[in-house]
């Protein structure tokens, strides 16, 4: 479809850049927005611009927050000896939803990937080392990174650095998600889960 309005074309182009969005979906959303009342569209555009303006990174854990330090790092109920290492802020929310983890976090902001020119200095590994040195009395790091090659490499790298500092490093187990029907699990995951089977 050839668009007749320059303004509409601009909006479609910007929307189409969003992850998971094709040109067709972008057109559908742009047309939908046109039909909404002014107030609704204004609230959306304000939310988008506030996102960049108001959101901070916590100076302790580098999670996104409205106030620095973030509520988790400020909380006195949190166990300061255990830190969970995650790749992105969204992973903090995933772990928090379980209500099981009572330690704090460290958000790396990525994983090591030479192909994308991301080395240890491009993610917040030095900041992690600094936290350990600064006397936060961290006894254990729990690696909750993706089990892909880049996540593993990042885990190895961190483990090697902090091991000599007397910090224990553990990693979360990978296997079959609870509540998932067996038939929906890919064969490789299932085979690995068989290899790691436990006594009933």
């Amino acid at each position: 479809m050839q668009l007749i309005s320059e303004t509409l074309e601009q909006a479609v182009e910007q929307l189409a850049r969003l992850p998971g969005m094709g040109r067709k979906s972008a057109q559908r959303i742009a047309m939908y927005l046109l039909k909404q009342n002014d107030d609704q569209v204004f609230r959306l555009s304000k939310a988008i611009s506030d996102l960049k303006k108001n959101i901070l990174y916590c100076s302790v854990c580098y999670n996104i927050t409205d106030s620095d330090p973030c509520p988790i790092c400020r909380s006195e109920k949190r166990n300061t000896g255990i830190v969970c290492i995650v790749e992105e802020p969204r992973d903090v929310y995933v772990v928090e939803r379980t209500n099981e983890f009572t330690g704090r976090y460290h958000v790396l902001g990525g994983v090591i990937s030479p192909l994308q020119n991301i080395g240890p200095n491009e993610i917040r590994i030095n900041e992690l080392i600094q936290r350990i040195r600064d006397g936060e009395e961290i006894r254990e790091l729990i690696l909750a990174l993706n089990p892909d090659a880049e996540g593993e490499a990042t885990g190895y790298y961190i483990n090697k650095l902090v091991h000599v500092m007397g910090v224990n490093v553990t990693r979360i187990a990978h296997g079959i998600p609870m509540g998932t029907e067996l038939e929906f699990i890919d064969d490789a995951t299932l085979t690995r889960a068989f290899a790691g089977r436990q006594r009933f």
Binding site: P114, L115, G119, D148, A149, K160, D186, A188
Partner: protein, 376 residues
Amino acid sequence: MINTSLSLTNFRNHHQTDTVWGEHVNIITGPNGAGKTNLLDAIHYLCMGRSFSSNSDQYVVRLGERSFLVKGMFQGTIRSSFEVACSYQRGEGKRLMVNESPLERHAELIGLVPVVLVSPEDKKLTGEGPAERRSFIDALISQTSPVYLNDLIRYRKIIRQRNRLLTDLHHYPHQLDDMLEPWDRQLTETGSRIVMKRNIVIRQFQSWLEKAHEQLTGTELKPTMTYKSIGENDTSEERIRESYTFQLRASSVKERERQQTITGPHRDDLIFFLNDMELRKFGSQGQHRIFALALKIAQLYYYRDVLEDLPVFLLDDVFGDLDPHKTEIVMNMLLKHPGQSFITAAHPDKISGLTGGDSDRVSNYRVSGGKLEQVR
């Protein structure tokens, strides 16, 4: 596994072709360029998620169109009946679907419908470089083992990441070892699992290779396939890993010079022998051709041995190359094969006399100009 029906839309020279297939031998004849191979290629798409005759999906789209669609129904022993579909659209890419739900990863398709393909390209297996032989062994194992396929995909990723570090090594002259270490550990871990699996399968494969070669030639020469790798002939993952780690360290100067990973299963090779004679160096053209065909028939036998479901057997233009005696042997083999097979041939007269007695097991089709019809 039986492909009961197939539907092509804008697939190469097929505008719209819908057909049902016979359960045993399906013979597709027609002049060159009529679209015979394309039907086999479409079945191959549903088994492996890609073409065997083209490197790029975009060349498979019918001229002047933007997308193609292949759909097929399959009948197996464990999964009774299911549909596999593959669609491709220019600019959007490819989608694989099983029973109309899209697969997240291409790898999930592999092994669902096991396939063995015989094609004129097979001559590269015995005649060209090691990459051809590695892809043969990888396709052979991947269809029976999703873990192997996963390891393979991961290993290739690690190699790419590691090669990038070696190319950029001037950025961190004093840190390179520290930077490489996390990749080295994964490289040897994943790589040794791959080597071990190849070792085991190649050993099991040997008897099937002998059987297939004997059927094709009589008994005179014994074919063997030896595996050249780190820790070859070792079936302990631990020992293979030790030897890989050792060789990786030993090649560290060389790989910095060449700026790439030069040890590991991505450099493996298979060497073919007839008795003591190395096929690649001393084999005649005829011996090459029969060896390559024996490898594929052995693949079929191997799957019959280890898989619950029989593979779909595709033979693209094999008879063009074979003398009448060998043609008869292969045809008899197919008539006895309990699974389903598809054969293309340019000249129907070459095989018509060979199928007469088993007409209930043979279905004949004719293609011309991208149109298919069943011949009674």
